[in-house]
Symmetry: C2
Subunit: 203 residues, 2 copies
């Protein structure tokens, strides 16, 4: 008899449970025993299926990346007729929205640390790269070199991420949603103008 379907169903059920725990209480509440109990299996089985709690959190984070990717892809499609600044701004604000609306799931992407010596799975890095590809596509008209575009996309992402993270953690004090949006708009607008100025300057 083929046991694969059962194992797949069990795997999906454990990811569902873990996702619910993370969305409701955050990554600190994630415990192997709790997930195993709810999934009606042993902790040993959980470790067997995911190679440890790390693997289960990565599986949840893969879903979160996919959800973020869907939102950003739809945004990119809606903005593709716009200027560089409009395209980058739409992506930046969509990222901010996701961070606010899916706060705990979004946090888990950055709070999760792999056990020492364990690398993040290649599939996770590929999922990240497919999100950066959306920013790289928007930059194609102003940065011809692929390596430079790679760095620029990551720099723009990290810049917006930094503003959103410090705001949501209230790290700089008294920063409301309007102030956060002003900062996102400032950095994206300045960077887009700077990129445009560079293209004009080098023409």
């Amino acid at each position: 008899m083929d046991t694969q379907p059962y194992r797949q169903r069990l795997e999906a059920r454990m990811i569902d449970i873990a996702e619910r725990v993370i969305a409701a209480e955050g990554i600190a509440a994630m415990q192997a025993r709790r997930v195993a109990q709810e999934a009606d299996c042993s902790v040993g089985t959980l470790y067997n299926v995911f190679g440890g709690l790390d693997g289960l959190v990565v599986a949840v984070n893969m879903r979160t990346l996919a959800a973020l990717g869907e939102q950003l892809s739809a945004t990119a499609r809606g903005a593709e007729q716009g200027t560089l600044e409009q395209q980058l701004m739409a992506l930046a604000l969509a990222y901010r929205d996701f961070a606010v609306q899916q706060n705990r799931r979004w946090r888990a992407l950055f709070e999760h640390k792999m056990e020492p010596g364990k690398p993040v799975p290649a599939s996770y890095r590929e999922a990240q790269a497919s999100l950066f590809a959306l920013v790289e596509a928007a930059l194609r008209g102003v940065i011809a070199d692929a390596t430079e575009r790679f760095s620029a996309a990551r720099a723009l992402f990290a810049a917006v991420h930094g503003i959103v993270t410090l705001a949501l953690d209230n790290k700089l004090g008294g920063q409301d949603a309007a102030e956060t949006e002003r900062q996102v708009r400032f950095i994206v607008s300045a960077a887009a103008r700077g990129l445009a100025a560079r293209v004009m300057g080098s023409a």
Copy 2:
């Protein structure tokens, strides 16, 4: 008899110990009992002096902010004859250097969360504001409005902070020091050019 000097010495001793623990092992290793034991006082005294462990961590973080402030002030003085881009770049790279060299103390600034309902002390916000003032000073020539300058300085800081944090946490994978510097240089350069273009455009 005046007991103030004893209390002040005890306070400084506890901050010294806490600072050493954070610099060597990180904020997760900070325990009231451990600090009190090393300072040769009771946990009750520690709570009495600092109003809780939170207060002691804030005291350490105030020292870290002061050290960062000294480094950034010296950088700003050294760059004040430069262009806007040179000034912002010098500050950004000095911030990156501090994060790398004082990694655990720097992390503690962002990892520390006050107990729920307890606000960060006003003196801490003032220390932060004095660091932002260095960036605001560099922006004076290109942003006349003080409110806009306030947001721009925080946006630029958060942008560089985002790049440095994601890099040091290895969140995007395979990012070496050279790649991190490329990203910092990209965002600062693009933003500085964008600001200059705006000034020219509105002239």
